[in-house]
């Protein structure tokens, strides 16, 4: 199923480049259904590895998995006014089942607060039943017409955690715990550095008191929201009836949270690490971390030596815990294999031919840097495992350097207007907190406030738009 499409260089057209590398790596394909995508095995393996890593972290922080229904009656959304305003316009509605019209339309979940909070309301009676800490891995649908594979599709895969707590403080702690889990996941697994911050009211989840986000920078300087964690206060507990008898005997509403990351993150990995030859997968996300390419030579004797040597390499790497694949397909030339694995972004390629077999060496090629270096076959497992860790660390450092070079403190709005398209990046500008100033920037430059960073030092001064007093700096950027 190799497709020999050329890849548009990033510098020529970043959007085209993105489409090309996703296609060339066979990560995903457009489905015939408008707005929907097919996640192909190479792309799905990235998601599965991310999922496995995140799932473990979700369990380690005390959550359990469960599964709630896909279909939610429209009337359930109506119970929370802001929530329905935010989501109803992008819902897909089931109006017929088993050939008959339904009495009430069912929405395919765009997010599951409406159904999950309803069930919690049924299950929770006393403070002893709290906290409820449940996560689900699921598909959701939000009607989208302008789609990009992974980044924006009508259907996508995600996890959504939903918790209910006895106290406001406990809920707030939960929201921040999960934000930190997302930040750590992005940095240590995806090798994608992120800013942690609060969203402005305009960018909040519909119905939330506070939305926290992790924001990453793509190679074109645009921002991508990597995951969000919402403090829902008592709003949803009141709308959906999550009430409990407190320790003092009074009836109280629970404090709830929700938080999620989606298959968008696969798009982020592509846009942060990819190069003009294709995607580059960080070792911890790669299904195949190292591919061994035997080059069989001319005589039977040579072929036998190569076969034997590559089997030994594979065994050594497996023993060292490396996810290794031997590519011994005979109907493909080495050059074709080479390009296929490069386009798939496999972190390390090992080439092994008759001369190597004689010398007891092989050639190790890094995908991220493309440097070739010889290595002894004997005891190859440990150095390759170490090299994978090194690559993982260097990919993160490189991405962080890239981001930091494109992050600017800026006190001059006119200058910003000139820069944001020519030099896209994160612009740290003082903002007074008014929706009007935020809207002006958006209307005039298409840049939005990505977040109010948590780790920002106190830096009050005049708002970059109106000059009124601003408590500190917000991060403005163009975004996906």
């Amino acid at each position: 199923m190799a497709q020999e499409n050329p890849i548009t260089p990033r510098a020529t057209d970043f959007a085209e480049w993105y489409q090309d590398v996703v296609a060339a790596g066979e990560l995903a394909d457009y489905a015939p259904v408008k707005g929907c995508m097919v996640i192909r095995p190479n792309g799905f393996a990235i998601w599965e590895n991310l999922q496995r890593e995140l799932d473990q972290r979700i369990r380690d922080t005390g959550h359990e998995n469960a599964y709630f229904p896909l279909l939610i009656p429209k009337s359930y959304f109506d119970r929370e006014a802001e929530h329905v305003q935010g989501f109803a316009p992008e819902c897909a509605a089931v109006t017929h089942g088993g050939g008959k019209p339904l009495e009430e339309p069912l929405y395919i979940r765009p997010t599951s607060e409406a159904i999950i909070c309803t069930m919690y309301g049924k299950w929770v009676k006393s403070w002893r039943d709290l906290p409820v800490m449940i996560n689900q891995w699921a598909n959701v649908v939000r009607w989208e017409m302008r789609t990009r594979l992974f980044l924006r599709t009508a259907e996508f895969l995600w996890q959504e955690g939903h918790t209910a707590h006895e106290t406001r403080e406990e809920a707030e702690r939960e929201v921040r715990t999960m934000l930190d889990v997302y930040a750590e996941l992005c940095e240590s697994v995806l090798a994608v550095p992120v800013l942690r911050g609060r969203k402005t009211a305009a960018e909040r989840f519909a119905g939330a008191k506070e939305t926290y986000t992790v924001e990453a920078m793509m190679q074109n300087g645009w921002a991508l929201q990597g995951g969000t964690s919402h403090d829902l206060g008592q709003t949803f507990a009141k709308a959906y009836g999550i009430q409990f008898q407190g320790r003092d005997g009074t009836l109280q509403h629970a404090w709830s949270t929700s938080w999620g990351v989606s298959t968008r993150l696969v798009g982020a990995v592509v846009m942060v690490h990819g190069d003009d030859a294709g995607v580059v997968i960080p070792p911890r996300l790669a299904q195949v971390q190292c591919v061994v390419l035997p080059i069989h030579g001319k005589t039977d004797e040579e072929a036998a030596a190569v076969r034997e040597g590559s089997a030994r390499i594979v065994a050594d790497l497996k023993a060292a815990g490396v996810r290794v694949r031997l590519d011994d397909r005979e109907n493909l030339r080495p050059g074709a294999k080479h390009y296929e694995w490069e386009r798939r972004g496999v972190p390390i390629r090992i080439e092994f031919g008759p001369r190597d077999a004689k010398a007891g060496t092989c050639v190790v090629v890094r995908r991220d840097e493309k440097g070739k270096s010889p290595a002894p076959v004997e005891g190859l497992g440990k150095p390759i495992a170490a090299l994978l860790s090194k690559i993982q660390g260097e990919m993160l450092a490189r991405a962080r350097k890239w981001r930091d070079e494109r992050t600017h403190a800026c006190d001059d709005y006119a200058g910003f207007k000139g820069e944001i398209d020519a030099n896209p990046g994160f612009y740290r500008m003082r903002w007074c907190g008014s929706a009007a100033c935020e809207a002006s920037v958006k209307n005039e430059t298409k840049a939005t406030i990505r977040c109010l960073p948590l780790d920002e030092p106190d830096d009050s001064g005049p708002c970059v738009v109106c000059g009124a007093s601003a408590p500190g700096r917000a991060v403005f950027a163009r975004s996906y």
Copy 2:
């Protein structure tokens, strides 16, 4: 969230018992959406363990995971006449998206041949692109009004494998390989013995040439179809255009298969192993294989000794690879904990009190047999791990004995009519192969042919219904 509902004994009403144990174990709950269920953490953990075991087997047999869209245009179903006849009547249809009516209704997938074969048609060009061997874990919807948790719900979770091959023989081999994977999964992981067999034309998957099945017997003598594997011949390749240039240069249609198991299997585990005290989970499926219940005694000194001893037990069990949970909740009495873990079906319970702490012993209680036996605390890991294996094996043997005692060779149709309700079970009766005789039995007794077993010895003779010559015996039973 403990619910103290009493459990109806199996002998009183098996259907009521099933509902009661599913509720008491907090495995699942009815959703407010008609026909849909919520899979609660205790039930979902069973599915996740099953999923992990099966996913490994699916990979080991050469398949990769991917993800295809939830929504399929109605016209795609229309391309395969038998398929659309079988599934269209039970589809849920999306007619509106983003507030606007759609040009064409989209069906929520009831199964994904229509979309997956379409994509294969796009990807496959040459024999070199074959085989394609992809699996997906997904939710599907088949409109159902009479629902039972896990067994029959409008939405359920499953895996569906879809493969395309160069030759008929390869496809046939694939169908049987996956049937064997399902049989082995049921027996060695679920401890549910199964018959492997072919379905009759009346019971086949809509559009298949041949459907193979694994059939299990529940404790009430009814059958439950555990998984199916379909030989689709070239039918779907022709309908959806999976064509390739063969080794001889001619254009050919691929041979395709599909196969799946679903969350129904969780219902099977409940109905095969449960008892009047609740569900009983086989150790290999249990999220918690062993729970340690400390009983704290009266003095601080006693409590400290119990705490220390239980921590040591937990550490020993973890080191031996046992999935262990310490239940040190202080707001619940030991009796309440005991019942909660019993209703959840945890295979082994270890009780540990002040007297045990002094004596260096503990009390080990099996869930399946309820026998209590003392054991030394020292070096407890290995014997508990061994006991889990023993329980797993004995649960399978017990279920097999139960089934075999209720499996009868029967040559007397009148006698069968009297027996099938009074003594439900598997009735092995000769069948001539005619749809008319099959339909008579169904109309007169509600029993259907569950399968034509693969391992049946030659046993020709007169058809039990019409007396015409029959090649062998089919298995008749009432079924879910």
